[in-house]
């Protein structure tokens, strides 16, 4: 099949440029003279924070957009000149998979086979292979819309593989998928690469990038680095450390403190410890390090993520004036930390550690389907409590019941000491809720949004002014006060949504998938902020499909298919993954827990159904 692509490169870009026009007339440079070389037969990852230009680059490669400058050759074809030829020869899975949800698995496959002109003989040979690879064999008659997220992803991939493409292009194929499906998808991709296929994929999971042969790092349309992941990892050589915490202490406090130090590039919880990366000039400050007193640190070999953070940090320092307002939330954050963490709101601090949310045997049916299936847990005051699970696990449904937005089919539900069956209104006074899609008024400015929510919660006079001031400073919105909220960058929208939900000083803050779609930088910044809120006495309940975010929680439950599979502290959860060694990740734990549950299900036969 590859007779025409004798060149060394599957993709060759020279000073590729793409600019978009915003509605305001402002030009945004999505790709700024990016030059790149992607070799045949290799797996190449495209990484970078949101707005880096990953999707734009992929769409240019697929001929879905034309570059404004430079040249881009895909399979030795100038894609701007002859997009159809490129589209005949490559396979592409967009972020939304591109499946027809009301067609069955087989019908989706047949459609793409027809479009690619795959003969019956080729299908007879190819389909069994695809079915075996994706394990979709038993579901060929099921409508694509009724598949789980992971299965949809595999079907989307299978549709691009109805014939052997010369290049496979995947845009964030693993986002929002449970760890098990993510692992399976990876095995398929690696198998294909082993057979000589060239693959370009964008990803926000840095551990995936580490396993690729080549990595391209983009930020704000600029190429920061390209090469083998080891080259990027090397950037952090001798800079990575692990800090061991006293037993049981949540890692987030130390992490939070470390992030405040401008000489620390990155700090993340990892397996109950805190991993951090030092910048230049760190040593000279080592003597005055209250946060590390009594804590043992040891040098560890760097990983890809450390090198990646070094790259971004260098870029931020070089481009400080241009990108300060949007692109460097972590750096911004450090300047202004005194505000929250130490001045605890008296109201919350005085209260004890009693149970504020009590869920007992909660069930929610949608017709025959149990979205939430006999779920029980408790949340104590001032905890950060996580509901973890892949898309479709029942997290959002549980959440909506907790917030009184959806009645429960059966079971008991007490929030802030109030029975949600009988006194929803009085419970609502004491909770704040940030929905997955932030409920902001895009035409109103930041100030107007906050004023509206203050009025909606019935605040007035001195108290109202105080809360408005608090929100502005706590969430660092002052500089953007007069910007319509619809024009805020993503991270700021989230801050504003949180500020709005906290206007009435609630005891409990509910956050539904706040980090979904956010890049690693924005996610670190977000957790830093949550830690500070928790220190002020707010109980935080949060859902996420990023398993490793459980490390930030005091306690978490792992939910799948409506059921709770495990709950406890991060250490207790991690203990499920004994097989994966001492540094087992939360993802290992999740996979181990799912496998345990399946094993038990197998033994109990239909009893659990």
């Amino acid at each position: 099949m590859n007779e025409a692509s004798n060149g060394t490169y599957a993709i060759l870009g020279d000073k590729v440029r793409k600019t978009f026009q915003r509605k305001t007339g402002e030009a945004v440079v999505a790709l700024d003279d990016v030059s790149l070389e992607i070799r045949h037969g290799e797996l190449t990852a495209l990484v970078g924070p949101d707005g880096a230009g990953k999707t734009t680059l992929i769409r240019l490669v697929c001929g879905l957009m034309a570059p404004d400058g430079g040249s881009l050759k895909v399979l030795d074809v100038d894609v701007a000149h002859d997009p159809q030829q490129v589209q005949n020869r490559i396979g592409y899975m967009p972020q939304k998979f591109g499946l027809y949800e009301d067609l069955s698995v087989q019908e989706n496959l047949d459609l793409y086979a027809d479009l690619h002109g795959v003969t019956q003989a080729e299908r007879d040979e190819r389909y069994p292979r695809l079915m075996e690879m994706t394990a979709l064999g038993p579901f060929t008659r099921r409508q694509a819309g009724r598949l789980s997220g992971g299965m949809k992803q595999k079907l989307g991939l299978a549709c691009t593989l109805v014939r052997v493409p010369e290049l496979l292009v995947l845009d964030e194929p693993t986002v929002g998928v449970d760890p098990l499906s993510r692992r399976e998808l990876w095995e398929i991709v690696q198998q294909l690469v082993g057979e000589g296929l060239s693959v370009l994929m964008s990803t926000s999971y840095l551990d995936e990038a580490e396993r690729c042969e080549q990595v391209i790092v983009l930020r704000e349309g600029k190429l920061l680095a390209s090469g083998p992941p080891a080259d990027i990892t090397k950037k952090a050589a001798g800079r990575s450390f692990l800090a061991k915490l006293p037993d049981g202490a949540p890692a987030r406090h130390l992490q939070s403190q470390l992030l405040e130090d401008p000489h620390i590039v990155d700090a993340v919880p990892q397996a109950g410890q805190v991993r951090f990366v030092r910048a230049d000039g760190y040593k000279t400050r080592q003597k005055r390090e209250p946060e590390l007193a009594g804590i043992t640190t040891r040098k560890v070999p760097p990983r890809f993520e450390d090198g990646f953070m070094m790259l971004l940090d260098e870029f931020t320092r070089d481009n400080a004036p241009a990108s300060a307002s949007v692109a460097a939330p972590v750096a911004l954050e450090r300047a202004d930390q005194v505000n929250g963490a130490d001045k605890r709101t008296d109201k919350h601090a005085e209260l004890g550690d009693d149970v504020v949310v009590e869920v007992n045997d909660l069930v929610r049916m949608f017709g025959q389907f149990a979205a939430v299936n006999h779920v029980s847990f408790e949340v104590r005051r001032r905890e950060i409590f996580g509901l973890l699970g892949p898309n479709g696990a029942g997290k959002t449904t549980t959440f909506r019941m907790l917030c009184g937005l959806l009645p429960a089919t059966s079971g008991a539900l007490r929030v802030a000491g109030v029975d949600m069956h009988t006194a929803r209104a009085s419970a609502r006074q004491r909770i704040g809720y940030v929905a997955q899609k932030f409920s902001l008024y895009g035409q109103l400015t930041v100030t107007e949004n906050l004023e509206f929510f203050a009025s909606a919660y019935g605040l007035h006079g001195q108290h109202r002014r105080e809360r408005l001031d608090w929100a502005m400073s706590q969430f660092e919105l002052t500089s953007l006060a007069n910007l319509p909220s619809g024009q805020l960058p993503g991270g700021y929208k989230q801050r504003l949504a949180m500020a709005a939900a906290l206007m009435h000083d609630p005891d409990i803050l509910f956050l539904d998938e706040p980090t979904s779609g956010a890049d690693p930088l924005a996610r670190r910044e977000f957790w830093h902020r949550i830690t500070s809120l928790s220190d002020q006495g707010v109980t935080v309940i949060i859902t996420t499909h990023f398993m490793e975010e459980a490390e930030y929680c005091d306690r978490a439950v792992i939910q799948d298919a409506g059921r709770i599979l495990a709950q406890g502290t991060p250490a207790e959860l991690r203990a499920h993954a004994k097989g994966a060694g001492k540094m087992a990740t939360m993802e290992d734990a999740f996979i181990a827990i799912i496998e345990e549950a399946r094993h038990e299900n197998g033994q109990a036969l239909q009893a659990a159904g």
Binding site: R59, L64, Q84, N88, P94, D102, L103, E107, G117
Partner: protein, 380 residues
């Protein structure tokens, strides 16, 4: 690098694959079925039955103060009439009471001296009608006069004295037909609405949905061509439009017995022309806006509302303000309504059909070309 040795063969196979895919989606998507089958059915029933300008089985109180055979003979005319459901009462006060309670719509009163006055040649029947709904009141009044008029005619033919004045008989005939003539123009006019719903609104929705769900993005990166994607949409929705057309014509002919004075093939031909125009508008709206909400608003405002208000379907164009009259010339529905009314009620009048059909054909061509230009395998 030509993967398909026979290019036209691949083109056909891809187009057929897209048509099959779209047809499966239509069958499985409840909203397509709702717009293509349920809405036309509701419209047919609504316009055919509920929106009739005729009245039947009106409840009236018949006050027989005169119990002579003559009075009873006149009153029995109300019993025979399909328009009235009479109820005999003994006194006027009771009749008035029934009227106030809303149990009857009118009172037909025969005074105690009815038959004696009739003998003198000046018989009088009092008709009292509930005037709250002026329109209905008028109809009832006229029907009642009609009933009495019929009786008078019969009497006159027999050479006997007559009740009331002669001209009554004529009046009721002028205003109201005994059959529901309003259906004669409402039901054919429905073809415009149904073609517009399926052609413009439904098509705009389904194409925009593919943009929103990202399915087109995946489709673009295959050997498929833009014209194949377009054909894959036009053919199934054209088919669906034909079903809606057949449904309406069948309802017009068999359910409401609207006469079709022109020929069926001319009717079918011009309807297909209009369907192509509507499809073209739907395709352009969705390709340009790429959003279901905006595309459906555009289709609604640009096609459905004008088809209802400005096409001459409900309101006569000649009675509109001049400026509006000019606007109607750019509306394809105007030409189609003219064609429908001519073919149904007048016949194959070529001097009307040819120019109007030519305008529709030209519009269909223009919109199809614009749709082809607007459908590019590009995202931005």
């Amino acid at each position: 690098m030509d993967h398909s040795p026979n290019r036209s063969d691949g083109k056909l196979r891809r187009t057929v694959a897209l048509i099959v895919k779209e047809s499966r989606q239509i069958i499985r998507d409840p909203s397509s079925i709702a717009i293509a089958v349920i809405m036309p059915t509701i419209l047919i029933l609504l316009f055919g039955y509920a929106l009739s300008l005729d009245v039947k089985n009106v409840k009236v109180a018949v006050v027989l103060e005169d119990s002579s055979p003559t009075a009873r003979d006149v009153a029995s005319g109300f019993e025979m009439s399909p328009y009235f459901a009479p109820r005999y009462v003994m006194s006027m006060p009771y009749g008035e009471q029934l009227m106030r309670r809303g149990e009857v719509e009118g009172i037909i009163r025969f005074r105690s001296d009815f038959s004696s006055q009739l003998k003198r040649g000046a018989g009088e029947v009092q008709i009292v009608v509930n005037g709250i709904d002026a329109n209905t009141a008028r109809i009832i009044e006229n029907y009642a006069q009609g009933v009495i008029g019929q009786w008078s005619q019969r009497r006159r033919a027999e050479g006997l004295p007559v009740a009331g004045a002669g001209p009554l008989v004529v009046q009721s005939r002028v205003w109201f037909n005994e059959t529901g003539e309003s259906r004669y123009f409402l039901v054919p006019g429905l073809i415009v609405l149904i073609m517009t719903l399926i052609g413009a609104l439904l098509t705009a929705l389904v194409v925009a949905r593919e943009w929103e769900r990202g399915t087109l993005e995946a489709l673009f990166v295959t050997p498929v061509h833009a014209d194949e994607i377009l054909l894959g949409k036009i053919v199934p929705y054209f088919g669906l439009g034909v079903v809606g057309f057949a449904l309406t014509v069948a309802a017009a002919e068999f359910l409401f017995e609207v006469p079709l004075r022109g020929s069926l093939w001319v009717l079918t031909f011009v309807s297909m022309l209009y369907l192509l125009v509507a499809l073209g508008i739907g395709l352009v709206a969705s390709s340009v806006t790429k959003s279901q909400f905006v595309a459906s608003q555009v289709a609604l405002i640009a096609t459905l509302l004008p088809a209802l208000m400005l096409s001459g379907f409900l309101f006569d164009i000649r009675s509109m303000p001049i400026a509006l009259q000019y606007i109607t010339y750019v509306l394809p529905a105007r030409y189609f309504v003219t064609l429908l009314q001519t073919i149904f009620l007048a016949g194959d009048i070529w001097s009307v059909i040819v120019p109007n059909a030519a305008v529709l054909a030209l519009m269909a061509l223009i919109f199809m070309i614009v749709a082809r230009v607007a459908t590019q395998k590009k995202l931005a």
